[in-house]
Homo-oligomer: 314 residues x 2
């Protein structure tokens, strides 16, 4: 990467398109790295944008940063929102027509070397860039919710995205202590959601089969693979489980049980009349009411801190 | 539960059948709760049992407990090993014939009200108890490896196991600050492994499809669902993700992507000639060599501590 391709922090101007929960969480993340909050612009077409941002964004910020909220630029006109941006990060409606149209419009008004990032969880850059003149500028930067807490960013280029754009994106996030991982092929749901949804499907199946309740299933995950995978992912964990012989020895020992489980995994479907929804929704509401996400986020942050701390001790 | 059913700590005498890694890890866990280490017996038919236990068990223990290792009773004769035990916990070979035979023999020599627990990951109590006179005494107590660190114990009764035995088992583990969860039906792999293996299958599929490497996949899990699920299991997490509308609102928003991922999940198989093994084993060895499980266990312990700490703050 040549120096001219690097975004120097003092030159960063970020425009967020869409001020939903993901937008506000990214705003909080960016604010914690920008010396000058006026280099952050939030664009949204909602009428009450100023009062909405001023009353909701502080919830994502430590008290000492609340004052910076008033310095953020708010915009309801797209051309002026993106005219001077070096990074444009989109988290609008999950709707291909909306995204395809807005990127063509953004491209018209944004500086030539600005980076274009979409936070979409499902619409690949190759679809979103269809009306752009230069599709090499756009890629997906998919966070794990909420992005101001979770380190992961799935960086998913389309086949048209240029390598330089991927590199500038990865280096931006690394410099901020986050964990960008480049997903080499556009695929349905990218990686994190596919993995989590595979486990969710089996979770629904087991609850529906009367094996455990919703709450028991959560407790099982919270006291086993959750803390384990916070420290070592599935391959590393099973590799350790095999001792000196590694993953291969593990599969030699327990591969029969692994295959028997795979053969027996349940198949459930999403949608009206599938039978499981009403039961699972009711159990979940009953168990948790409205979740205290403040507590969840504080705890998750401490989990990430101790993992880093122990790693740095070696 | 009546008082007569409770095991009072001062009366506990535990015999572990099998001194592999699970056996030693359970020995370490029990030692940290027993005031008198001579109330723990380890039975194993290996010739070098004494030197093996004395050189390996201390690795699982904090330094101040090393001295207690020499007070543990070691046994190579089954009748004398179980004759006075109140709890007999088996982690021998994963082999139905072995387990069926040993429980019949244990039943002959153990006190009438001793609890019988198997650590098996795959052979249900209804199979293991087939040659017992009284099948109501046996159940599975399946740990998540290593049990001296991980709180979860899957308690899996057979249809014959008595409620009193389940209750005494759960209350024993609760009193030791662990998390026993009763699995209501015997099913292949119980719950934790089924869930983890569902995610593992998709992990292998994504690596094999060239979407990410083994190491990138682990990093994705370690920086997203791992720390999240250490704090809130999948149902609670998605319930929070739906805001005030909960899981139902979450599925309304993103159910289309969930189903699209489910439809697209890969199917891989375990076994010679399946193609993925060589590649995945090589990548994993290359990435990790031999994993430092000491570091992993210390970090996991701290993760569990901060989760408990924040929970108790509310």
């Amino acid at each position: 990467m040549t120096t001219s391709e690097t975004i120097h922090d003092e030159d960063v101007r970020i425009t967020l398109i869409g001020a939903g929960t993901i937008g506000l969480s990214f705003a909080a993340l960016h604010l914690s790295h920008l010396r000058d909050a006026s280099r952050l612009t939030i664009f949204d077409t909602r009428d009450d944008l100023a009062s909405y941002v001023h009353s909701n964004l502080p919830k994502y910020l430590p008290p000492e940063q609340h004052a910076s909220v008033s310095q953020i630029k708010l915009a309801t006109s797209l051309p002026s929102a993106v005219g001077k941006a070096t990074i444009i990060q989109e988290q609008g409606p999950e709707n291909a027509a909306f995204k395809t149209a807005i990127w063509a419009e953004i491209e018209e008004h944004a500086p030539e070397d600005a980076l274009f990032w979409s936070s979409t969880s499902g619409i690949p850059a190759s679809v979103q860039s269809q009306k752009m003149k230069d599709a090499s500028r756009l890629l997906v930067v998919h966070p794990y919710n909420p992005p101001h807490i979770m380190p992961l960013l799935e960086v998913v280029p389309s086949p048209s995205t240029s390598d330089a754009v991927v590199e500038r994106t990865v280096s931006f996030w690394r410099a901020r202590g986050r964990t960008p991982v480049v997903v080499k092929k556009e695929c349905t749901g990218f990686v994190a959601n596919r993995l989590a949804f595979a486990l969710l499907r089996e979770s629904i199946h087991l609850v529906r089969s009367g094996v455990v309740t919703v709450e028991e299933l959560d407790r099982i995950v919270e006291t086993s693979m959750g803390p384990r995978w916070a420290v070592a992912g599935p391959f590393k964990s099973y590799h350790a489980g095999g001792g000196a012989g590694g993953l291969e020895a593990f599969m030699k020992n327990i591969g029969g049980t692994v295959q028997a489980c795979w053969d027996d995994l349940g198949d459930v479907r999403v949608g009206e009349g599938q039978g499981w929804e009403e039961d699972i929704y009711a159990q979940t509401r009953e168990a948790y009411g409205v979740v205290d996400t403040g507590l969840r986020d504080r705890t998750t942050k401490r989990v990430l801190e101790v993992v880093e701390e122990e790693k740095s001790k070696g």
